[in-house]
Symmetry: D4
Subunit: 204 residues, 8 copies
């Protein structure tokens, strides 16, 4: 186990049997949460049949055993459009399994700016905001100007043509005019959740 | 002269003498406006000394002879930040020389969303909006959602690192979640002005 | 609903049931046209079975309820080659559903320059021209020189190798030597239609 | 002033006179710190002559008036090599001016892994770590595995050839195998400092 | 046959019958090892049925006839993560068939730096090290600092988003801060094995 | 000397003395033309002072000794715009020094399609056409459709922003809808001239 | 029909019925050869059933009606490796159908330089050489130095990783150190054949 | 000092005084060679005035104190063209200072294939070959096929346009059809020399 961080299994390319084996070892080795990300429903079913006590989150494609107790740290996950939903679901479910309180605010893309403005209070009540947006990723800049707390931007591969499978949103978020925004990898709801979890870890 | 469009000289790489020669020919050949873009003050002075009757716009780096009469068509040019100023100046000055009424609304980048919201009325009063923004270019998406009229987005090379000399803003504007926005080349205030001018040309 | 623009549903990634639900809400909420883009024939059939009164355009892969009355604004959609057809169909059908009169001029790519020259009159009779071209996208430059009215260029992903899935046509159109051409995203017939629709919206 | 964040002036492209004017306005408008980034020593001298009470940090190329009181939040800034120094200096000086305690740990690039291992205690004592590295940016991954607290990675444009002016380090940090690392723009010590500052802002 | 190097058949795009034919010719033409890379199990079975005496390595997807005698030259193949396994298997199996002794050290990615440190002795006992890593490829830099012997880095296409199908790891390894590391093509376990084999060939 | 092709010296990075030395050797070694490309006027003067009998072409930045006799093979060099002039000059001067008859047709970019149409006869009278164009390079496609003879396209680095220093024109020419066009490197008037020269070399 | 060039149908995306219709029109409209490229065997069978008199070339995936009489112009098509075969087959078959004599020289990639050297005589006997090579495309440079006649390089998408689906070979061929080589699009055997055909067309 | 490798100072961005300071420390700390790369002649003079006993190599831009005794290991450094000279000089001088015997074989680019063939014996007599080539980098593939020993390819930034400042040569060398070639960073004569030095380090 790395320095304090929960060890999380990356599902793709692993068979149900392999996943089950790894999960068993991890459940034995320590007593915190154990997660497997990006698992399809069939594989999930097979793993749960062998390693009971877990729960499968369909939208997040996530398997969780022994979710952490809530830490009293609130994360708002905001999305620009419908298609950003699965990435937001992964972010929220992973964060939640690690003990963070999460709210998801959906479909407040900046082309209808009133939508995100209507959510300012909920955004400001969170300890940190995860912004999930594809295409031009402009939502991160607007949210970054609305809150003082940490903003973690997740570019998604939503869009076509000049969206370049998420590269455009990634570049745009990195060069956002809202100061102090940070960025994780394309479609990495997982990465954003872990970054949020790190916010709760302070020097002793 | 191409189909109805004013023939405009591109300054870079031409000597004062060459520019003066071309301008004289154009002034003789037709009777509309004659423009030279991207001219430095020294060259401009030399050209004006030889071909009198013109005017030099320092901020826009533009030379104009025989500006057109105003056509009753209003263009709002909006910028995200201070550094986008020169491109906006070119857009406004070229549009103006071609007979469009122009207003410039400065420094309303989306990291302080109240700034652009405070200008909604002026934006909606225009017949078209030219949005000039570098970095992540998010202003185009927000403006595109605020007005129904044509929006012409000009990405600028403002920014560093992941801004990739304007390519990020360009890609972001092309994949904007605000529908029906159109885009011109990086730093091309000229291109935006001509696109606005075309809006005034309808089938006879 | 955003500022005056018709709210159009993006089909990909949504099930027939979801689409039907969204369409019903939109039909209730306002009384203008309701569109769903990029829908396959099977999904379209299922949606129409649940939400009657709509029409499916096979070539455009578009569902339309309550198309707008014609506004007396004419759009010419021109294509370079056969393979650009589907994108042109989307542009024309969306524009038409929003109240624009559309003509499609097919297969006038510049390698046989007489083809586009033979259409100059029809091009000049339109209030705006949408140019749909892949590969090197040169048709946009030629058309931009033939008409004075707005030209909206749609690069397509037609071609292979150095065509880079539409990026080459996109870059070429952005740096066209024909002044005042504007560009939308690769394969976005939808974007071009909305840009054309904005041309009909003027300050009150 | 945006939502709680200090308004910081971006120096490049502005004359000493302009900077002085803006700084005066900002000093009047609120009573927090006022900063100007990326200022050369000559310009700095001229500005300070007009707007007294400020201090110039040569290494960071930063002007500061009214630095904030220390907030009791510690930031470790780590660099991979000598050439990453100026970016680290900007990060540390901006963070410090905003009230964060900063330590700089220099020249612990991973090609001599004992160097960073020798600093583990100091790294773990910080509330957050800013990793400044160019070339392949591998230091971020190693540090991310050594601490539980937030890690903000700043890719630098140090290197040549395949370093692609910082793009390689940027991409590498985004796809780091150390979970929950976040990334800011190339060479943006400023961005990292602001991200660190946001860590101190929690919901009220 | 090229200058001393074993002629190795590239499997993809060839039918079992074609492969069998080529292998027969090569077995006749010289008396060294004959290999076919990137062969699936079905094709392998069909080829072995026609050209007996060979052996199929499932993990490496490799067919070998007449493997070389061991040369007393040891290669350590190290991987960063589970998903790098197949590329490492190809490297090890090809190297082995050409007469090199190989050990595989698995799953010592730098996010848990103790893992690779625990293997320093085995790494230093090898005559050369092949580092197989995707994502940000940082393992190559760390290993390059731990051993004095030749380090051959193989970037893999493991990862998503900013990993750009191996390009990020490739660029990172090329610009590694560990001096004297060399790099082969993405996913080319084959290339690394041949490079290791060349290390055993010295001027006569 | 390579297979029948004139050995031509590449000037950049060589001092006048070095160039003079190489030219002398080449003049001695064979009796055909000797050329030095991309030489500034000062260097040229110094070289000619030492190796008399040569001629300097200012526009082409070319030094020539012993130009070839004309071979009765005609090349038309066409340019899109003024800024393409220097590349065209290099193409024409090199071709001419190698014995080809050259005509330059200037400034017939496709935004004013009548310009190139007015030159169809001259284009068809040539044995081959070299098309020199930057920006979107569309002229190559139009010329390719107007003549049956070989068309050699030279993309130039003329343009800004999305022109990407000639890469856009290069890609556009490679994916031209006019069949059988061939392309040389960006700004390589030299390459086009040599390709034209090869057209005169047939099997004996 | 364009200026003297045979009109050739591009198969992909067209149904057998559409192809048959187009071919019939073309057979009626003029009396030269009619070709359809990139057609699979099933579609070909269906087309030939409706439009008799044609011939299908399986390796080239080409349909031909009324091939041209031989013109006495010889083209050598050379490939680097087995996988370049299909592109070479297209080049040879199209060239042949247009009246050129073609020889294919296979598998002479430069890693075994004796292979191409063994073919020098056959290469020099041709009137032009088409070089088909993927990966690093080095064969074009070597052939360009061995013959004086026109060399048309066709990069192929053969290779993986850094081969970037043919882009590497394309760039390498464009910047070849062998002067006067020309290049066509990736995998475009068709483009090379047409370029060769143009070599036979001279001013009247 | 890292694991057995000589610690070499990177000159750019360091003042003469700083370099002198670092060199003194390194000369004291151990007793092997001390090198500074990429130093201009003026800086070199100033450093040598303060830290005597060193030697400056002008062509290689290298400072050396206490060069190593020769190890009996021979490196051939081959270049494609004149402009690759400085990179080759760096490779040879660094290798030499570390105790390797070096020969430089100049100007044997593949467009005149006889040149490299004339050097086969010298190439085969070396224990390893460093190939330095820009543009399309094809020399590495040919050399890789001529020798059995390790081949280290150094792409250079020589060339223009599609050479993309060395990226084309880099990609080409990575995807070379000559098996087992390894590659270092663009223009990194230093990296190649260190890779060659590692070849002499074997497990004890
Ligand atoms: N073909 C299309 N391409 C791009 N955007 C579209 C397309 N069709 C609809 N949209 C936009 O997609 C958004 C609706 O997305 P959704 O909420 O997922 O239906 C609206 O902003 C539409 O303007
Ligand atoms: N070094 C920097 N890098 C990026 N943005 C900066 C930097 N310094 C200040 N800024 C931002 O630049 C904006 C101010 O720009 P300006 O109005 O041109 O002074 C504010 O949003 C700052 O947060
Ligand atoms: N996995 C591999 N990756 C790259 N090249 C390979 C691989 N396996 C074999 N080769 C090379 O492929 C060439 C043989 O290709 P072919 O003639 O198609 O069998 C030889 O140069 C081999 O060295
Ligand atoms: N020309 C060079 N190219 C790349 N790295 C170099 C070069 N010269 C020295 N180095 C490396 O730079 C590091 C020293 O950097 P510095 O501490 O800035 O002197 C050492 O790791 C050297 O191996
Ligand atoms: Mg979005
Ligand atoms: Mg902006
Ligand atoms: Mg086209
Ligand atoms: Mg570093
Ligand atoms: Mg890895
Ligand atoms: Mg042009
Ligand atoms: Mg090849
Ligand atoms: Mg070279």
């Amino acid at each position: 186990r790395r320095q304090g961080l929960p060890e999380i299994v990356y599902g793709p390319g692993k068979q149900a049997g392999e996943i089950a084996g790894i999960v068993k070892v991890l459940l034995d080795r320590n007593d915190g949460p154990v997660l497997v990300t990006r698992v399809g429903p069939d594989t999930a079913g097979q793993v749960l049949a062998v390693v009971p006590g877990g729960r499968y989150d369909d939208a997040a494609r996530l398997l969780v055993w022994r979710p952490a107790l809530l830490l009293g740290f609130g994360v708002a996950v905001v999305t620009a459009g419908t298609a950003d939903g699965p990435v937001a679901a992964e972010a929220a479910a992973v964060a939640n399994a690690l003990g963070l309180e999460t709210t998801v605010i959906r479909d407040v893309g900046v082309a209808g700016i009133h939508r995100v403005l209507a959510e300012v209070e909920r955004l400001r009540e969170a300890d940190c905001v995860i912004v999930v947006a594809g295409m031009e990723g402009a939502l991160a800049s607007v949210v970054g100007g609305l809150v003082e707390t940490p903003v973690i931007a997740v570019p998604t591969s939503v869009g076509y043509g000049a969206a370049l499978e998420g590269v455009t949103a990634l570049l745009a978020m990195l060069t956002s005019c809202a100061a102090g925004i940070t960025v994780v990898n394309i479609d990495s709801g997982f990465g954003a959740a872990l970054a949020a979890y790190r916010l709760t870890r302070r020097r002793p």
